[in-house]
């Protein structure tokens, strides 16, 4: 069930200051599966900077939804990049293999595509921070966190503001948590931090931009004399689609160094002056991506060897492009499959078993 995210770079605590958020590991492995049954131990989350640790301890009740959000982001990333050379899942090993590695504390480098300042990294940051904002807002609506809502912001005795004028939206709150937590480590004056901050913010903005207003009329005889409206979160797939568009049109930047009183500061400037400069909604990057054809531990590429390709497609998932021109192998597989299924809500499917024969094409 759990794919280990391409970017999960679990090297113990030796790389805490590395440029990719190790705490994302919250969303996978046994950390995640124990969520909800055991309280979260903030100290056991790898890679938290002090500010995040403080946040975690203060608001431990929203940490499960933070983890949930990262997981949502990873799943969406995998959906959006399925069938591409970089498919957001470079390690398909399961927990059994990965677990011991973690336990021994060995440093096995699994993929730091995200460690480079590439488009992929930009996308992953954006979708993860969007996921956190999304999941926190949702968990507020579930009532599982008590700190959401208006009482923390309105003045006066608790409960009074609510009875007088209701609650402000929780949408802001989700973004706020995402900003406080995910951006906490991005405070260095280097280019990478600037890029991550920008992309995280772009992800959160995408949630706010896609909120839609729903209304209900409840006046005299149900007329629209009295109408109440509220903002409702979009399907997360919509956010994924949108950020994927932003990935395709991401802006390449160059790093500029300035000398300021606190030392050297790196900022980003668009590489091509004749393109429109990126807005706060666009993704930015400043290193070009590898082609992901061959495995390369330095760039974090796993190569496309043994990946299944689509013979009939002329797109990126077609065998020509996906296999980088190396050609493909074809084998015939008999699979027993479930068919003629009848679905019963929620949790029961009655199926027959059919045998189907497939041609499976894999890259050489």
């Amino acid at each position: 069930m759990i794919y280990l995210g391409c970017f999960l770079f679990l090297c113990g605590l030796t790389h805490v200051t590395a440029s990719y958020p190790i705490w994302w590991s919250l969303a996978v492995g046994h950390q995640y599966s124990s969520l909800g049954t055991q309280p979260i131990l903030c100290g056991s989350i790898p890679g938290l900077v002090p500010k995040q640790l403080r946040f975690c301890r203060n608001y431990v009740e929203i940490m499960p939804s933070v983890a949930e959000g990262v997981k949502l982001g990873i799943q969406e990333c995998q959906h959006q990049f399925r069938g591409r050379r970089w498919n957001c899942t470079t390690v398909n090993d399961n927990l059994a293999i990965f677990g011991p590695v973690l336990d021994k504390g060995e440093c096995v480098r699994i993929v730091p595509v995200v460690s480079a300042a590439t488009r992929e990294s930009a996308f992953v940051h954006a979708i993860a921070s969007a996921g956190v904002a999304f999941a926190v807002t949702r968990s507020c609506a579930e009532g599982s966190a008590t700190i959401c809502g208006c009482d923390t912001r309105h003045k006066g005795p608790p409960g009074d503001g609510w009875k007088w004028g209701g609650c402000s939206e929780d949408v802001e709150f989700g973004s706020m948590v995402s900003r406080e937590f995910a951006d906490a480590r991005e405070n260095r004056p280097d280019a990478r931090s600037a890029m991550n901050r920008h992309n995280n913010e772009a992800g959160r903005t995408s949630i706010n931009d896609h909120m839609h207003l729903k209304c209900k009329c409840h006046g005299l005889s149900g007329s629209c004399e009295v109408k109440t409206c509220w903002w409702s979160q979009p399907d997360f797939r919509v956010i994924g689609d949108y950020l994927k568009d932003k990935y395709d049109s991401a802006s390449e930047m160059v790093v500029e160094k300035h000398r300021e009183s606190r030392g050297w500061v790196e900022t980003l400037r668009p590489r091509y002056a004749y393109f429109k400069p990126p807005t706060e909604r666009d993704l930015v990057y400043y290193e070009s991506s590898p082609n992901f054809c061959e495995p390369n531990s330095d760039t974090g590429s796993f190569g496309t060897r043994d990946r299944i390709c689509n013979l009939t497609s002329h797109g990126i998932d077609g065998c020509d492009l996906l296999c980088c021109g190396r050609g493909h192998n074809t084998r015939t597989e008999r699979r027993k499959e479930k068919c003629h299924c009848i679905f019963h809500w929620c949790c029961y499917v009655s199926c027959q078993e059919c045998v189907r024969i497939y041609d499976v094409h894999t890259c050489k």
Binding site: E68, G143, P158, G165, G166, T228, S232, H344, C346
Partner: protein, 542 residues
């Protein structure tokens, strides 16, 4: 007395009255815009998926989504699939309100809307031909965190799923959500308790085709809407202030009429009835809803509003009719059956509709007339009939206004030839009519404009640090406006005690002796005085 107060008032006094009323009008807008919060609040809830694990040990049958004694939860249905949980053992639990908050009687009403999150699955699609969801719902309350839940209602309801999927139905779009319409779920006419709990089940019975073909329901979302306590307080305060004001002017008005020697005419009675219906709306019986659990208050409010609208619309018709200035004898309510009929019939239709919806909700808060096909058709029929009645009414009204204006222009030309008394009488009539016409149009235009603003606008405007609640301003402002309208009509159209002579330097003494010119147009034509005209003892002067 010659005519109404308005005719005999000097322009200066009229302007003063106008300015005072305008001040109150501005005040009523400001109260809503600056002081009151927004009228209603919508709170979004996502149902927690609980598992009914109490197989035989009977504990509480209510499932709490959070807090102490919370239920066993699952995060998504793939877990349920692995654990082989049956559909009937999954309970969607929503606690209203969210943690650390409590409901209050000041919220007046609570209505809840239901929405399903349904993911597209190629093999498990929503049935094309109007899929119905059967929900087994329970509603309970408690007034303190530690006590047991008490059931308010339990029901098995059908709701129609109207969902559409905009993306192509292909495997790569699996997991994308359908776009589903909001469904009415629950309506409570009073919020007497602090905590409410909703438990929803989706029972499956394949043989009876219950909940088959409803797609892959991922989540249930509810939206709870209630009136804001602050708005309720401002509203009550306004009502409490307005009731005596209208009541006093009403008593004063009726005293004026009874002081006259003649019996009151139709229009005077109509104005009085308008005052009564306004007072009926104004009387702040809602204060009781704070102390008592009166769920029928919502329905009662609808009825009161309906009566007032009916009265106001009838008043306009009769006012036009009584200012027709032709020879026809009116002054009887029966004459207006053709015009008033559609109003009464239309309001009656809306009343029946409201009884079918909110009336039944007194018994079963989950009931909705829109949930079933027959109900929807019936409701639409009522609303369409009411709409046709409204159109008919406005056609009649426009036609009458047109007739009056035609007669006015006809009279204008013959005015100089008339005797002084007759001329003054007609001039008074014309002025009276035009004044009311103007004021009514202004009020109606204000109502429409503010309605549009409040619909289009997001609900509040920001100026520096100040937030103006447009919606609240709309409600208090428009409510205040119609109160002032009724107030002004009762004041200005009350019979005057003044004589023409008091106002005019060369008063026609002969006219002065003839009192009691009524608020009616049934006076005649130069050649043939009518009964009423005789009653007014005017013919002596002719």
């Amino acid at each position: 007395m010659a005519g109404a107060i308005i005719e005999n008032m000097s322009t200066k006094k009229l302007v003063i009255v106008g300015v005072i009323l305008l001040l109150f009008q501005v005040l009523s807008f400001l109260v809503g815009g600056l002081f009151a919060p927004s009228p209603t609040t919508a709170i979004h809830y996502v149902a927690t998926k609980c598992v009914d694990v109490r197989k035989h040990n009977q504990q509480s049958k209510w499932f709490m989504p959070w807090g102490p004694h919370q239920c066993e939860k699952i995060r998504d249905f793939s877990e349920a699939m692995a654990m082989r949980i049956q559909a009937n053992d999954i309970v969607f639990a929503v606690h209203i309100p969210l943690p650390n908050k409590e409901m209050s009687p000041w919220f007046q009403f609570m209505l809840v809307i239901l929405q399903f999150d349904i993911a597209f699955n190629l093999n498990n699609q929503i049935a094309e031909d109007g899929a119905m969801v059967t929900i087994d719902v329970g509603l309970a309350y408690r007034d303190d965190i530690l006590s047991e839940w008490t059931e308010i209602a339990h029901s098995r309801e059908l709701r129609k799923l109207s969902c559409n999927f905009t993306a192509p139905k292909k495997p790569e779009n699996e997991g994308r959500h359908y776009d589903c319409d909001l469904m009415p779920f629950l309506e409570l006419g009073s919020v007497a308790h602090k905590y409410y709990l909703v438990n929803i089940r989706l029972p499956v019975n394949e043989r009876k085709r219950v909940n088959v073909g409803i797609g892959e329901i991922k989540d249930i979302q509810l939206v709870g809407i209630h009136q804001n306590g602050g708005f309720t307080k401002v509203w009550f305060a306004m009502k409490t202030f307005l009731t005596p004001s209208i009541l006093i002017i009403m008593v004063w008005y009726w005293r004026r009429i009874t002081l006259m020697t003649r019996p009151p005419v139709l229009l005077e009675k109509m104005i009085f009835a308008l005052g009564i219906s306004m007072t009926f709306i104004n009387i702040p019986v809602e204060w009781f809803s704070v102390g008592f659990n009166w769920t029928w208050m919502l329905l009662f409010g609808d009825i009161r509003q309906g009566i007032f609208y009916t009265m106001l619309l009838s008043f306009w018709i009769i006012f036009c009719g009584e200012h027709m200035m032709d020879q026809a004898e009116r002054n009887r309510f029966a004459v207006y059956w053709k015009q008033v009929g559609p109003i009464v019939f239309g309001s009656f239709c809306l009343f029946i509709f409201d009884m079918c919806e909110r009336g039944v909700q007194l018994k079963n808060p989950f009931y909705s007339i829109w949930a079933s096909d027959v109900g929807t058709e019936l409701a639409m029929a009522f609303i369409i009939v009411a709409g046709i009645c409204a159109c008919l009414y406005f056609l009649f009204l426009c036609f009458m206004v047109f007739q009056v204006f035609r007669n006015i222009s006809g009279k204008r030309s013959s005015l100089p030839a008339m005797s002084r008394a007759r001329r003054l009488h007609y001039e008074g009539l014309i002025f009276r009519f035009k004044f009311l016409m103007l004021v009514t149009l202004a009020c109606a235009a204000m109502t429409v404009i503010f309605f549009i603003i409040s619909q289009v606008n997001e609900g509040h405007w920001h100026w520096d640090e100040h937030t103006v609640q447009v919606n609240s301003a709309f409600f208090t402002g428009i409510y205040g406006m119609w109160n002032l309208y009724v107030f002004a009509i009762m004041f200005l159209y009350a019979p005057s005690h003044k004589r023409y002579g008091d106002e005019q330097s060369n008063g026609d003494l002969g006219v002065n002796s003839g009192e009691d010119m009524q608020l009616t147009t049934t006076v005649t034509h130069a050649d043939g005085p009518t009964e009423i005209y005789k009653m007014a003892r005017k013919e002596a002067q002719e």
